[in-house]
Subunit: 511 residues, 4 copies
């Protein structure tokens, strides 16, 4: 399972002394912090301000730290910019899909970067091409820039109303995207009306300790897919962009331009993803509830990121606690498949009172697999990745907590490894419900047939993978673990997309 | 002085047995033969035929032979394709300008490759952007594809009339380009109405010697910027595409679709470039005369290429003869600045009766210059490139023929080299007239101030560069050398653009 | 602090069916498992057996998985080979130092790979050069191969006695190295008489589950710096090579050839490193006690490796327990600097009864630092590497366990990070004693002045780094944690080198 | 047929003002001028003078201009150095064979670079290995450095007598090599006693035109395989190193240390290569005549290089004249296979009075061939390389002069090309005798069976390749063309190795 992307937008304040903050390097630091969201390619684009007829652009394949040499960063002059790090979802075949995507419009250069997948991309493509426009890539990014370029009123000389143009885009495609848009002197941050993908706003602060007024003035403002990037950039989280909201960053600060309501026309089951507590509230927006991707909590986000007022780590720990309540085991030790399942394992340990200890040692340098592995190398694939801590396992009954099971090809060999290293019993506990449905909102999930949970009845899975027992967290348990810590002001409604677990998509797929 | 590009288009015949001819490899061979027209980057795109929803595309920076590995060529499946090798003229700043340029349209994929520069590119850009279309590059290629995509009638489902669409494009931009366009199952070749850039048609033949019918059937058809590529591909020259003509290649053969006349509205001096003999002829086209770039003969084209029915080598040799008539010298030997001036030097020798011999030995491996040369290395720059053949020079009066002088920075050190090696006198003869004006048709000429001919009066040039005498070929002499060998059927009018020599541009620059 | 190297040697059994095991791929898997011991370059050399006049060799810079493509591995034919992955210690300046090092001798090709540093390298170099031999590198590897080549008797035609030759080498250089040597049909594994660097022997087993005789026969035998590689290769640990022992692997199995005693002439304090319990034992070897590098336990080795009969993870956990006994704190939570300090932190938690929880989230993608960082980027260096889990820290008194402190430049910013994220108190506990002395045995330790423990008195360190308290494990505590789990048969004496902690080097440095 | 190598050695004068001349850049320029002698890899090594304990070294694969970036050149500090550009002859298999080869000896660092092949390399290897020395490569370079390192007296502390050591080497191996040796503060240039490979001495001069004394003082001295490098470096040819001579360059100037006589024990036919005129002279050296490789004149050297007092171009032109005398043709035009055969073709034209004109246009960008060519691409291989100038060929009888024919695979397709382009008759004239024997002196000649001249009787060759007639230059004709221009002072004897033509090797091959 792979996340689509991480995005950054950053604008320096009007009053920032020259050279104190370098926008390109700040974006670089932000992208490094979002690297877990995409490792295939990355790009940074900067604007040198109002008179710009073009943007500065650098990109490359691979990891952020390898792409952006000092030489490249030095070319990225300007005081505002966008950054992007990606996995390929749509547009994979084309080699020109690295974001940000940049076009020249009659109102000057325009750059965008987004996370997610337009649910009605095919229909939008067709509409754009039917207007006689050739599309040079297969990516959603180009659709977005062309939608923004052609938004009415067209052909005028006057300064365009970018807020209205972006609203035009949002009305044309209901989900799933978080988007940053840069024109010559402003950056806009947008979440789709369902808030499916995350985006938050930060304030770039001076790092010194002096307490005078100068020291309390912000140096600039930042959009980021996750708040974990703010700490790396020396910024602090202000709040998330609301579902459907259009927020403008300029050298003068942050301004909320508009909130586009969720469309009435939604999928049959669309209410299912709303959190029941919210449904009857008076909300600031009418329509169906939001649909924030619940797997951001389970799997994608970095543990120190904050969504809906709560830190992801705490949600994962509560998932582990809930799992211990739902599916307890009589065991000697609780352990983790490092490293992502550790908070859940610690939660399971806390709730059950059974001590936590490590049993697998992860090799950080595994690298690529052989292209043509021989039989023996294939059998050793898991042993290449994990070493067993036999002295911790010898004669013990082990509960091994994993964060999710997708294809289920790794868990069997791991169990075998633990038994060979002396484990007496191995009980698998998965801190999320079984994946059963495809995602059309930007997450790369294997086909239905490849998903373990669709291959075998739940009660046969333990013996299939060689475990003494196997249990998943319930969907309701996951929702409970998530909802428990939400802290939101302003009566912002919440709701989570659980389509990959229960098939309840937030919008009709034939939008 | 640098040429913009070389283009290839190739379609295999319907009846070609599988595997006899591989289109990607044929295009590769053609590009290698056109490599002298551009060495910065190259690309090949192929179509797998009628049902294609996308084209196969491979490109890279550097020389054709380095870019197209067997692995890349093997991915270029299909029986028709385009190839391009380029220098950057317009669009240089953008890293995505390698051609062919490809877009997805409502009628399927579309690829184009061209040589030249649209004289009214800025106006076209503006018109396209005013329609609300974002342009993702600064290149003419994208303008061309968007012009073709948006050509009326738009939005229809029926098979588009590509001939009409291309005519729409030609009517919008009078010069200077030769263009190949591929849609899923056909390739179109186009020269602008002034015929400024070259393009010719070839027939791909079996290589065997058998004389049965099968052996006489063509294997396919080819467009190429120069006919020299045909020999490399095993093809024979059929004819040139006429100025303003649209020619279609399909698996069934070659079809001339249309000839677009030169526009009436032309530059004030536009008649100047017409060959006087042609002006009063009844021509197949009305309007001002064509304006084929005369520097293709002087400098750009490979010596074995054929334009207007004559081989380039012969024109260059006649330039040398004419130069000997115009500016004779009493000397012991005639020699050349290798390798491009050799035909002119041999012509000078033939006409003057003075023996030809080599005096400079060229180092083929010179490579890049130092980024930060020390003084000594800078002084040795010419000595790095040429070795003097002192035994041929000792005590002799030398006429050194060069094909053109642009900045004049090389000729001085060469003269010094010859004198140090023993030359008694050095007379410079330049087989083309002095360059004085910028080119807006796709040729990269230094700015007016950098051109040697604009820096000094003609009579001071010899002493400026240290020569005993220095003379250029006259403009009239060049035109004579060119016209003398033209062999064209069908009353095709001819005319040559000499704007860089005399400032007579074929069209008004504010088109 | 950086380890020098990891070595592998692997020989397939005579009876192995063709194609079941590929030696190059097994060595590759072993090197991937040893990658933590060196990430600068790696090499693999294989022999095709008795008639070989040369070996097959592939090497490269960077990570093992990036260097050894399928193509390279396929060229490494043969049934025995050596592998090496390295940091540069000696010989750094020279670009040809990647190991294995290979020479051609009168007895055919010879390859060696080692871990460590010859304490008397300068004297050996001089002796070899005084014999009129030119040395083409500055590396210890070449010294070793030349010592083996020139070992008496020289010039004979008969099959050389490699055991005697290697003994000759060992007698010439007492420490610090573990070494694998390959000649055409055998591999030798050697530890220096002090056993300073580790080396162990494994048996390569079939992976199937069938229980017939065929399934119980070993497929081959392996040397590895650490036993963690065996699991990755599908091998099982037989035992460690003893200090001073020469072990031969051939297609027929494992044979111990010789044990070279520790020299009498040793450093003044040399007894200090012996474990007191062993000193009076009747040992299989006379002379001073061994001196196994204690930092293999503390820092270098992978947690699942086994030395002296105990798993490294358990030693580290006992270090944490011992630290909790020596320097207890009244706190709310125990945590770790991920990932290497986790076993010690869990040990501290177990012993103190204070719950363990994570407070730092490590970014796995940090990559290189800027070459020319601006001030702000420099200040953010630690924030780039670690994210704070604020919900776990808020209002709490934290004990942060680290495995060692070298320069102390990271701990201060981490403490600041924790406080900013809400920590009420931060107590640092270091699970090893302070580093105070240089290592001459192959470990790269900063110069004396750079070591934090040499910069400030212990009692000032806490306030220097901004901690509420700071304590190290005592040297005696470390020795206790190590000794407690040692399980060795055959009365093998043990002893550990603690020179970097207490300055007691195992041998006189002017050897 | 491929040459082995080009070598450079350069020492700056004591009095050179700092920064006027940069040795590394001068060597770079020299290597670029010698690039035609080897294009596989290149290296430069410099010494920072008397106190040096190591040399600075940079090397790489490919062309000199691509390897030596400014960054690399800037690292090559020092005022003296060696350079080398190579093809692989001996030692090909090993990846570490790029020269210069560098070793550390008891007298400090030592670097060597050579051109040629030691005729008794196998025996030397054996002798070195029998002394107990391991050899880390298969190259002659390492043999040479080890021979120099071990030269008696060994082990002494006093300054070594490098002249005596080099003489020791020369006495051990009679041919074929030119060699430059650098120790910390001097460079030695050596030609083997037979003078088989070339080496000459140049004086590096100020480039300014001022005529004061300062301007006439040399800046340094240079060794180079060919004098063509001197012009590129701003040096002038002093003389060649004599066969067997050892010449020393130091900051104080040039000193001839010794001349080692040719050994008495020579090959049975060894007299055959002596020039008869020299045999009875009183010579400065006794023994058999020298044996300078005659193919340096025919093929390898750059046309502007000078050997034995004559420029190579003139020899080639005389070969063409001689060929016209030996094998005249009644034809319309004389032409060349560009570019190396042009001087011979011009000579043929001068002698015969038949006009010279070009008929083939060479593509400079041909690059590599396909790894897996299809049939059609294979047939087009020659058409890829050469374009026919049909207007020069039409209806004419052509004499095509080539410099040598090795395998004869190209000449057939070229003849076919000329006929297709209209040639009425094609007569092949080869300006050197047929190659019939292998070279053991450093030139890569195909095996005997692959040589065209060994496949067919001479009289059948014309019809075999499709020519109307075909003739080679006679061996005597070649010797005459060479001897005619020799200008040597001091009664230096001359003689040329023609072993590849007549099998008369200068020394017994079982030396």
């Amino acid at each position: 399972m792979r996340e689509a992307c991480g995005v950054i937008g950053c604008v320096l304040a009007r009053s920032t002394p020259d050279g104190v903050v370098n926008v390109a390097r700040m974006i670089y630091l932000g992208l490094v912090a979002l690297q877990h969201r995409g490792q295939e390619s990355a790009g940074i684009v900067t604007s040198e301000g109002p008179a710009s007829t073009h943007f500065n652009y650098q990109k490359g394949d691979g990891l952020v730290a390898a792409i952006f040499t000092d030489e490249k960063l030095n070319k990225l002059k300007g005081d505002m910019g966008l950054g992007h790090t990606r996995y390929s979802t749509a547009g994979g075949r084309d080699p020109t899909n690295t974001q940000p995507f940049m076009v020249h419009t009659r109102h000057g250069p325009l750059a965008t970067a987004h996370n997610g997948e337009l649910i009605n991309a095919m229909a939008l493509r067709k509409a754009i091409m039917d207007r006689g426009v050739g599309l040079s890539t297969l990516s959603d990014s180009e659709l977005i820039t062309q939608m923004l370029s052609q938004a009415p009123p067209r052909g005028e000389k006057a300064k365009p109303d970018w807020g209205a143009r972006i609203r035009h885009l949002i009305e044309a495609t209901p989900t799933a995207y978080s988007l940053v848009v840069m024109q010559e002197d402003k950056i806009y941050g947008v979440r789709d009306p369902f808030g499916n993908r995350p985006l938050c706003i930060g304030r770039l602060m001076p790092l010194g300790t002096a307490n005078d007024d100068e020291q309390r003035k912000p140096l600039g403002w930042v959009f980021s897919s996750e708040s974990c990037a703010f700490q790396s950039m020396g910024a602090t989280l202000m709040r998330e962009v609301y579902p459907g909201e259009i927020v403008e960053l300029s050298p003068d600060g942050v301004r909320s331009l508009d909130i586009v309501p969720r469309p009435k026309r939604t999928a049959p089951h669309s209410n299912a993803h709303g959190d029941p507590d919210d449904i009857d509230h008076e909300t600031i927006l009418l329509g169906p509830p939001p649909a924030f991707c619940i797997f951001e909590y389970v799997y994608f986000a970095r543990a120190d990121s904050v969504f809906e007022g709560q830190q992801v780590y705490s949600v994962r720990q509560r998932c582990g606690r809930q799992l211990a309540i739902e599916s307890p085991v009589d065991a000697d030790i609780i352990s983790t498949v490092p490293e992502s399942a550790t908070p859940a394992a610690l939660g399971f340990s806390l709730e059950s009172g059974i001590p936590y200890i490590e049993v697998l040692c992860k090799n950080r340098y595994v690298g690529r697999s052989f292209i043509q592995p021989d039989t023996r190398s294939r059998k050793l694939a898991v042993a290449k990745k994990f070493g067993a801590l036999s002295e911790n396992l010898m004669g013990r009954r082990v509960v091994l907590v994993d964060d999710s099971i997708v294809r289920g090809t790794t868990v069997g060999p791991i169990i075998q490894l633990l038994r060979q290293a002396g484990a007496k019993e191995v009980h698998i506990r998965v801190a999320s419900p079984p994946l059963k449905h495809p995602c059309y909102m930007g997450i790369n999930i294997p086909t239905r047939g490849e998903l373990l949970a669709n291959q075998k009845p739940l009660e046969e899975l333990a013996s299939h993978v060689g475990a003494d027992s196997l249990a998943y967290l319930s969907i309701e348990g996951l929702r409970k673990a998530v909802r428990q810590g939400i802290v939101l002001k302003n009566n912002i409604p919440t709701g989570h997309c659980t389509a990959c677990l229960d098939g309840n998509y937030p919008v009709n797929l034939e939008w």
